[in-house]
Symmetry: C2
């Protein structure tokens, strides 16, 4: 393998795949980045047991030559140190030669590095996918879905399917659901797909969701999502992100979502968020971060108390329909949900002090958040 | 105690004193902030066993009323939570009342917090200083002195005086020295003082040095430094920073600084820094972060090798006087020193492969860095 490449292009590609490179050394070769130089492109792959990111650097981009492959070939380079070296190289161009026994030479400006590589044949192959189930959405929409659901998954690995986000697709409508059984977030959106494509139980690990959003952070293209067996592949022309899917059946969450509300509160999202954040300063050291709401005519009183620290009481103006109500819940669940809501006003529906309540932006119906209250004395 | 104060003013003052507030709870009252309301000012104090910061908020600043004390008094508020509450208060103004048994009420907008305070009489008194030894310098110069010396102190607490920075004053010339016995940094500067003031063995703990720089980060005034007993007080009109001094005698470091050089190298500071940083990528996992320099006609060859990772070799252009030389040393020491040098060019003086070498900016003689080489095979 012998090639020259623009330093800035290599830096970008390496930082993409590095997100998936394993930091643990249980499978040593996965701490490396696999590099394959073909005649017209350079392919970089990073992977850990759960995720794989592959990026392709074409010879020409925006009518500018950026890669000059003199001799094709492949090698596995040590991931972490390679990423740092590439970032700090002094020249605009990098010369890269792989010699005998996978010895790697990197030249740039007046600097020359020699690194020990590993044979690329020992690197695991990419999952083979049969592309039957494909749908597409904009990278921007994908990031929004991740941001508005993935915070609600269970963190404890023992919680199985609840550590992932459920993707369901029917008649072009994608529904994403995340819950840790104390709160739930659901987003719906129209995507591009064949009209008869149906997906029922695709569960993406929560950690992969965040990496997915980061991987396509700068993309403006449409992203194809391909589901096959226990793998999901998210893909644009030059970037592929593979993640394993979670096994198990995701329960039907529709039945826990109340259809009507006895008490309805409409208020400003940002002011509400700030009030709950203040109340949480007092409650957060407690076991469940409990704050109390007292809903009455045109206002919500938010209180929180801790024997050690003290207490807080605050009123916020709101449009209230229905009888008075007192309810306690975990402030963090509301804060995390409110932070993902971009709409100016929020609508909250209660059915009682002991039953889950619903939060939705007032100006759209594709988004909902549910919180289970806490029984207090 | 009863007062009203502008929220932004209170936020700034609290964040100043919080830097010194103890996070450990060995002395519980030191996790609090002492607050004293006098008729025309509010005094906030934060302290741990080593440092104390006191800030005074005057009633009027820049002809604007910012503080309205209705009833004088004092209390100790819980530090961490108070700082966070103050930052998140909804209104421009804060009402602050201390009632019976040190109960604290904080009102702002429609929010009201109740916090448990502690009696201010239990808070330790400030050190009493007899102000005989005073000198002054600009806050900007003080920050520069800290930045250019404190990185070189020993980190290990067992190293005694070497964990601090030595301040010496004679005929208005302040000399600051820091060394961990592997490298040394020395800065000299003219300060304002009585002509006969002499200080010989004032040793400020390294940690206090960094906090000192942060505390006066936004100051533009002259800072008075007052030395008395085992305390140093740095002070502007509204801000006082106390730190204990280290006990013990700092050795005379003049004799380790070579007066002449057999081999002299002059080169660009920034390019040299970047080269050494690259070489350090290979060497830093090794025990001493060793890189090797080979100085010859008009160039320095920098090399570094690690059995596990690989090697690097790089040449930099330099103006070299004297015979060829090979020397090995810890790359980190050179990197940390070079990062504090703002001058474009740097002059390096070697007297041999086994003796300390000197680095100085070419355009000034108030600053020097010394590095002890490493014996290699």
């Amino acid at each position: 393998m012998k090639l020259r490449i623009l330093q800035s292009v290599l830096v970008d590609a390496v930082s993409q795949v590095t997100k998936a490179v394993s930091t643990r050394t249980t499978i040593p070769i996965l701490t490396g980045i696999k590099v394959t130089a073909e005649e017209d492109q350079l392919i970089l792959t990073g992977s850990n047991s759960d995720m794989t990111i592959e990026t392709k650097i074409p010879r020409v981009k925006d009518e500018k030559e950026q890669l000059f492959v003199e001799k094709i070939g492949s090698v596995v380079v040590p991931g972490k140190i390679f990423a740092e070296i590439v970032r700090k190289l002094p020249g605009n161009e990098v010369e890269w030669i792989v010699g005998e026994r996978n010895g790697i030479t990197i030249r740039s400006g007046k600097a020359e590095f020699q690194l020990h590589g590993l044979p690329s044949e020992e690197y695991p192959s990419l999952p083979q996918l049969y592309e039957e189930q494909v749908f597409s959405l904009s990278a921007d929409l994908l990031r929004t879905l991740v941001r508005k659901t993935s915070f609600a998954v269970a963190v404890n690995e023992a919680r199985g399917v609840f550590t992932g986000v459920l993707f369901q697709l029917e008649e072009g409508l994608l529904t994403c659901v995340a819950t840790d059984s104390h709160r739930l977030s659901r987003q719906k959106t129209q995507v591009e797909s064949l009209p008869d494509l149906q997906l029922n139980n695709v569960i993406i690990p929560g950690k992969s969701m965040s990496e997915l959003a980061k991987t396509f952070a700068d993309e403006t293209e449409l992203v194809d999502l391909v589901v096959a067996g226990n793998q999901l592949l998210a893909r644009t022309k030059h970037l592929s992100f593979y993640t394993r899917l979670l096994e198990g059946s995701y329960p039907d969450t529709n039945r826990v979502i109340p259809q009507t509300g006895d008490v309805e509160v409409t208020t400003k999202t940002k002011e509400l968020l700030q009030s709950v954040e203040r109340a949480s300063l007092i409650s957060r050291d407690g076991r469940d971060n409990v704050i109390k709401w007292t809903v009455s005519d045109n206002q919500v009183q938010i209180t929180s108390a801790s024997q050690e620290i003290g207490s807080v009481v605050e009123e916020i103006q709101a449009d209230v329909k229905g009888p008075s109500l007192t309810i306690s819940f975990n402030a963090r669940y509301m804060i995390e949900a409110l932070r993902t809501i971009d709409s100016e006003e929020i609508h909250i529906q209660f059915t009682g002090s002991m039953t889950p309540f619903l939060m939705q932006p007032t100006d759209r119906n594709d988004s909902l958040h549910l919180i289970v209250p806490i029984r207090t004395r």
